[in-house]
């Protein structure tokens, strides 16, 4: 946020609810899900099996990103090998024409010889696309997160479980959401401000 610090300091970033056990945070997550919140998260020191369903998470779209990049890589590899081996377009400068070498009697452009290249570019593009897609979907790299200011939240890496509902959520209203979180019986609730 590039707004003035005086106003930003007051603006709530999120509400934080702390829980003691896995079971409590699971049941609380189900209620947050059923209440219709969209921009929220559960923080836990270890993976919790079944939390996806409890949070109502849909399967990731990352696999489609990977597929699209893989197909793009295959197309790129095909074009690359064809262009470099077999182009002979009239009127094109010789510096961008293909090198038409006849190798052991094979056709100038023969697919089997180029499958490994196409395979590698497919894998390369798919891998890079998956990495970048994962970073993008997670909004990484994120150098600063207001949650880090909360001393209580440090225990998310040790022995506490947290539900964080962000202020960007359409249903978020500081007072109403705080009251809603109270009904989940957390051990503590904290308002985290921006900046």
């Amino acid at each position: 946020m590039s707004t003035q610090t005086t106003t930003a300091a007051q603006r709530p970033y999120a509400l934080l609810a702390e829980f003691d056990t896995v079971a409590e945070v699971m049941h609380a997550a189900e209620k947050v899900r059923d209440a219709g919140y969209m921009i929220w998260d559960v923080h836990s020191p270890m993976p919790i099996h079944g939390i996806n369903a409890a949070m109502g998470l849909r399967p990731t779209i990352l696999s489609w990103i990977t597929l699209a990049h893989g197909l793009a890589g295959a197309a790129f590899g095909l074009l690359l090998t064809w262009w470099m081996n077999a182009t002979s377009l009239p009127g094109l400068s010789s510096s961008v024409q293909g090198y038409q070498f006849l190798i052991s009697g094979k056709p100038i452009y023969s697919l089997p010889a180029n499958i490994p290249i196409i395979f590698e570019t497919t894998v390369l593009f798919a891998a890079i696309g998956t990495l970048l897609g994962m970073l993008g979907l997670n909004k990484l790299p994120m150098l600063y997160n207001p949650l880090n200011k909360s001393r209580r939240f440090l225990r998310a890496t040790a022995d506490r479980f947290f539900i964080v509902i962000e202020a960007d959520d359409k249903m978020f209203e500081l007072q109403a959401t705080r009251e809603f979180l109270q009904t989940l019986r957390p051990t503590a609730i904290e308002t985290v401000t921006e900046d």
Binding site: P47, H49, N52, P59, K106, P112, A113, I115, P116
Partner: protein
């Protein structure tokens, strides 16, 4: 990703489930085997190629059921090698099929006979040499490996060596009439079927005695490993504890070595040596890839069928079935990768005695060398690789029992056709699949399934005593 939760027994251990295979099914299998045998023997009289075609078709069917057992054995071994817990619930069918390698060993007996009888009808190198023939064949093939560029020159010699071979190496009677394949060039592709100097130079390895000794070793190793894992796993059902699991895990590493080496050399002996001139170092891996596809298909198929019949309870969940589907998916691609690797290197090098293997299998676009096996090669490219690869890719397909029922069956069929493509072109350049193939397949698979039924009736299809059963029951997925 599938992970395991801590093995907190979330429910009581499930009760053992024993299959009671109906009498009708057993009788049906017996009838199928008899019918298949009759059809195969009948076709030996009726069809061109005669007994040699039946022998080759029998070899295809034999390799098919062998690969199912070996693929299952591989599944059992990697489960223990990796100390996997997810697969405990679905491991029993694989154990049953891998122990069924005993039936496969019995089905091997006719092949053993065809190797020692000296006719060389199944394997050209197994023909008993008589001095005169040896000399002539040697002369005739002095210029082997036949360079395709020199085919025209070598044709006379090739024909000469043919006409002198006693009782005639069965030459395909139809080649003369095919328009697209000139008689001479196609015919000379099959002259390796006489024992020539190149084949003789390999007879230190490829001779009936050595072949039989090696086969005994192969089957000994396979039956030994399969029996060990089957007996230990059954013992767990009775006594529980962890000592059997520890022993199985300890032996898994050694066994997987022995498995890999025996499988590779068995593929060389039983399939690759059909063309004694040809060699491909990756051939063992190629056969292994087929084994994995076939074995995983048949295990997935039995899990799905048992569940559809209501015999296997829903504790075998979507997660287990999806993981089996993933393994199958991975090995579909692995097969394609290996098949292409083998093709590309031989295609690129273009060495005559190795390209011949692809030429008779129709994978050549050179003028005068195309033949109808090429249709099967293209079918395999799409049907065994590209279409199932795209078809099983989605996780929604992998979790759908009906869809996977189809794909497992489809891949089994493709795996059989792959073996047909490996073996049958040695008979003739014309694609024919008919009564001999169907008859032998019917006989061999029915006999194989009879063996599997015998083992299955005395065994719970869930390993109730395995210490990792709880973890396997609790498998969930994180995405």
């Amino acid at each position: 990703m599938t992970t395991m939760t801590k093995p907190t027994q979330k429910s009581a251990a499930p009760a053992p489930i024993f299959l009671s295979i109906p009498r009708k099914v057993i009788l049906g299998l017996c009838a199928g085997a008899v019918l298949g045998a009759v059809l195969a023997l009948l076709s030996a009289v009726l069809y061109s190629g005669g007994m040699r075609r039946v022998m080759l078709a029998y070899l295809v069917a034999f390799a098919f059921v062998l690969s199912l057992s070996l693929g299952s054995l591989f599944f059992v071994l990697i489960q223990h090698l990796m100390r996997a817990s997810w697969g405990v619930l679905v491991r029993r069918p694989a154990e049953i099929f891998s122990l069924n390698v005993i039936s496969v060993a019995i089905l091997f007996l006719p092949i053993a006979w065809w190797v020692v009888d000296g006719s060389g009808q199944l394997y050209p190198w197994a023909k008993r040499d008589t001095g005169a023939q040896l000399q002539h064949a040697g002369e005739g093939s002095q210029l082997t490996p036949i360079a395709f560029a020199q085919v025209e020159e070598s044709v006379t010699e090739a024909n000469a060596s043919h006409s002198h071979s006693p009782e005639g190496v069965p030459r395909e009677p139809h080649t003369t009439s095919t328009a697209e394949a000139p008689h001479n060039s196609t015919d000379s592709l099959y002259i390796h079927q006489t024992v020539d100097s190149l084949t003789r130079s390999k007879q230190g390895w490829l001779n009936p005695g050595a072949y039989l000794v090696r086969s005994v070793v192969f089957f000994g190793v396979w039956i030994g490993i399969a029996t060990f894992y089957f007996v230990r796993s059954r013992n767990l059902d009775r006594v529980g504890g962890v000592s059997d699991t520890r022993r199985m895990e300890w032996w898994a590493g050694v066994s997987v070595f022995a498995f890999g080496i025996t499988l590779t050399y068995a593929a060389f002996d039983m399939l690759m040596s059909l063309d004694p001139h040809w060699y491909s170092t990756i051939f063992g891996v190629y056969f292994f890839a087929g084994c994995a596809v076939g074995g995983f298909s048949v295990n997935l198929l039995s899990i799905l069928v048992l569940q559809q019949l209501g015999i296997l309870p829903s504790i075998v969940s979507e997660e287990h079935r999806r993981d089996l589907g993933r393994l199958l998916f991975a090995f579909v691609f692995f097969w394609g990768y290996i098949a292409f690797s083998q093709y590309m290197l031989l295609w690129y090098a273009n060495v005559p005695e190795t390209t011949r293997w692809f030429v008779v299998r129709g994978a050549s676009m050179a003028e005068g060398y195309s033949n109808s096996w090429g249709y099967l090669a293209v079918l395999l490219l799409f049907g065994h690789f590209i279409i199932p690869f795209l078809g099983i890719m989605s996780r929604h397909v992998k979790s759908n029992p009906r869809a996977m029922l189809f794909w497992a069956g489809w891949l089994l069929l493709m795996h059989y056709l792959d073996l047909v493509w490996l073996v049958m072109p040695e008979l003739s350049p014309r694609l024919t699949i008919g009564l001999p193939e169907v008859g032998t397949l019917l006989f061999v698979t029915c006999a194989y399934l009879l063996g599997a039924s015998l083992i299955a009736t005395r065994t719970s299809i869930i390993p109730t005593g395995d210490p990792r059963l709880g973890a396997s029951l609790a498998v969930t997925e994180v995405y």
